[in-house]
């Protein structure tokens, strides 16, 4: 009898371990969460990563600087251009070349458009995670318009590889400005629909308010940056604290909340979309004339030393660290990616909530899995 009891666990409080494994609709990719449950209550969430670890940092050590640009946007493919910009700014800072004004403005517009389409996809998949299929169709329908703008200027829809060390790959398309203005006008007229569908929905609020609270001290100790950190009051917007490209000449306010629960992590992203549109509005009118790139030597060699550049990606603070020993490929290239650090807090804030809340919390932290594994 005890043989039966042993393996069926009848009697003692057996821990029930479930794999929210590599292939799961709500883990946004190949993140495996080993969840140990007591009935519906989550006792411990252990993330297992590495199912899409491609060894990008090791590859960078055998590629030249212009080649690495194409790898950067395969890391966090939803903020592709922001990754490019981080790496290129770092290389330009090391070479101490000052890039033309036109490049700064166009890079800022492209970064803000990238942030917009990233938050749109967050909104689409977050609604789908919590059971609302309509968000998937509304969100991706509007995202398609940004992808068309990207394709016209850079040739690629999502992984644009648009910035290169020294400026931009090509100049912007003649009707880039017209189409961006049209899109901003269209998206402003339709954004109230996003709030009506999800933000105002009672079921959505019931499932996200007071769930997965993260205090300010914990947010700093866990290093949670980006919208997830700003929802807990951690003012970490790199565009405000250390403006790069053309962020110093635009007026926008940093979205900050203090409640720190899942609903406010979602709300910060919705308001950030409005801020991004304000930034684009202030810049799209008068893009300064001038060259779109600086003439660079064919083989780029950075002087010896360690270079650090931080940038605000759609998910948080993205740092590009390059250690160079003077020849054409870097001695060590490291990317501090936001999703990787934000993953550490998942176990801490999900304890005690139900397994359905785990889906909501993981969705609100907005992971991109190759951003975690690199």
């Amino acid at each position: 009898m005890e043989e039966l009891a042993k393996n069926t666990g009848i009697g003692e409080d057996e821990e029930y371990i479930i794999n929210m494994g590599p292939q799961h609709p709500s883990t946004h990719g190949v993140l495996r969460l080993v969840v140990s449950l007591k009935g519906e209550i989550v006792k411990n969430v252990e993330p297992h990563v590495g199912y899409i670890h491609r060894g990008i940092e090791k590859m960078c050590e055998s590629l030249t600087y212009p080649q690495i640009v194409h790898l950067t946007d395969r890391m966090d493919y939803l903020s592709a251009h922001i990754n490019n910009e981080a790496f290129c700014l770092n290389v330009e800072k090391a070479l101490e070349i000052d890039i033309p004004d036109r490049v700064k403005v166009v890079r800022t517009i492209m970064s803000e458009l990238t942030r917009l389409q990233s938050h749109q996809l967050f909104w689409a998949s977050y609604g789908m995670d919590l059971g609302g299929q309509t968000c998937y169709f509304y969100g991706l329908r509007d995202r398609e318009k940004i992808l068309n703008i990207f394709e016209e200027t850079t040739g690629a829809r999502m992984l644009v590889s648009y910035s290169c060390p020294g400026g931009l790959m090509y100049d912007i398309h003649p009707n880039f400005q017209k189409r961006t203005k049209e899109f901003i006008a269209y998206f402003r007229s339709i954004l109230w629909e996003y709030d009506a569908i999800l933000t105002g929905n009672v079921i959505f609020q019931e499932r996200t308010k007071e769930i997965g609270k993260l205090s300010l001290a914990d947010a700093i100790s866990f290093g949670i940056t980006g919208p997830s950190g700003r929802a807990s009051g951690f003012s970490c917007d790199v565009r405000k604290h250390e403006p790069y490209s053309a962020y110093d000449r635009v007026k926008f306010n940093e979205v900050l909340h203090t409640e720190g629960d899942t609903f406010h992590r979602y709300l910060v992203r919705m308001e950030e979309m409005k801020e991004s549109m304000n930034i684009i509005d202030q810049l799209i009118e008068n893009i300064p004339e001038g060259p779109y790139a600086v003439k660079m030597k064919p083989v780029i060699k950075l002087p010896e030393g360690e270079y650090f550049q931080r940038v605000e990606s759609a998910r948080g603070e993205l740092d590009s660290i390059i250690i160079s020993d003077g020849n054409k490929n870097p001695f060590r290239a490291k990317f501090r990616t936001p999703s990787f650090v934000n993953l550490g807090v998942l176990n801490y804030i999900t304890k005690g909530f139900k397994i359905a809340d785990l889906v909501a919390i993981a969705g609100s932290l907005d992971f991109v899995i190759p951003d975690i594994d690199r």
């Binding site: 292939q23 609709p25 670890h53 998949s125 998937y136 398609e144 829809r157 899995i369």
Partner: protein, 188 residues
């Protein structure tokens, strides 16, 4: 501008199609085959399996602008038990290969595989100097259709799925049984 459109006539019948079709089935079986194939090809349910950027393009193909549903593929099944097609969208690394093999084995027959994107075909941008990328999904599971691109445009994915549908059109009951038997492996 863009890919020259293909006229419908030469889309429908080209020589390679005939080679796939085994000859010698009698009239009665052929008509039943046609009905079965028409039913199967028009409702290919893909498994939600996306490892990296190609997965986002697959989602974008499911969205209203490019709309998978026109070809009967909009139902994404989360479990392999109910899926017909496994669209390998993204890079497969050595740690993910046994998972992919397990998912493929757990799918019910008849099952098809579409390798979407350069990473699934040959490791793509990670072919050189990467220590953990499987250089192509062909090493793990048999693949029916390859769709090049990094990531392929939604139209390319749709064209790839249409090619898969044409491949299904040529199947007969005997060829389908032979093909499923090839997936057997002895119960260990």
């Amino acid at each position: 501008m863009g890919i020259k459109g293909m006229k419908y006539e030469d889309f429908k019948d080209n020589e390679s199609l005939e080679l796939l079709k085994e000859s010698g089935t009698n009239i009665l079986l052929a008509t039943i085959d046609d009905v079965i194939n028409w039913g199967r090809k028009a409702s290919l349910w893909p498994l939600t399996f996306a490892t990296s950027c190609c997965g986002i393009e697959m989602m974008q193909t499911g969205a209203p602008y490019h709309d998978f549903a026109r070809f009967g593929m909009e139902v994404y099944r989360a479990s392999p038990r109910q899926a017909d097609v496994i669209v390998v969208a993204g890079t497969i690394v050595y740690k993910m290969a046994p998972v992919l093999k397990r998912l493929y084995d757990q799918m019910s027959e008849p099952k098809y595989v579409v390798a979407m994107g350069a990473c699934a075909i040959s490791g793509g941008p990670f072919f050189l100097n990467s220590y953990s990328v499987v250089k192509g999904v062909e090493h793990v599971i048999p693949v029916d259709v390859f769709i090049p691109g990094c990531p392929p445009r939604p139209e390319a994915l749709l064209y790839g799925m249409l090619q898969l549908q044409r491949k299904i059109e040529t199947e007969t009951m005997r060829s389908r049984k032979k093909r499923s038997a090839s997936h057997n492996s002895e119960i260990v």
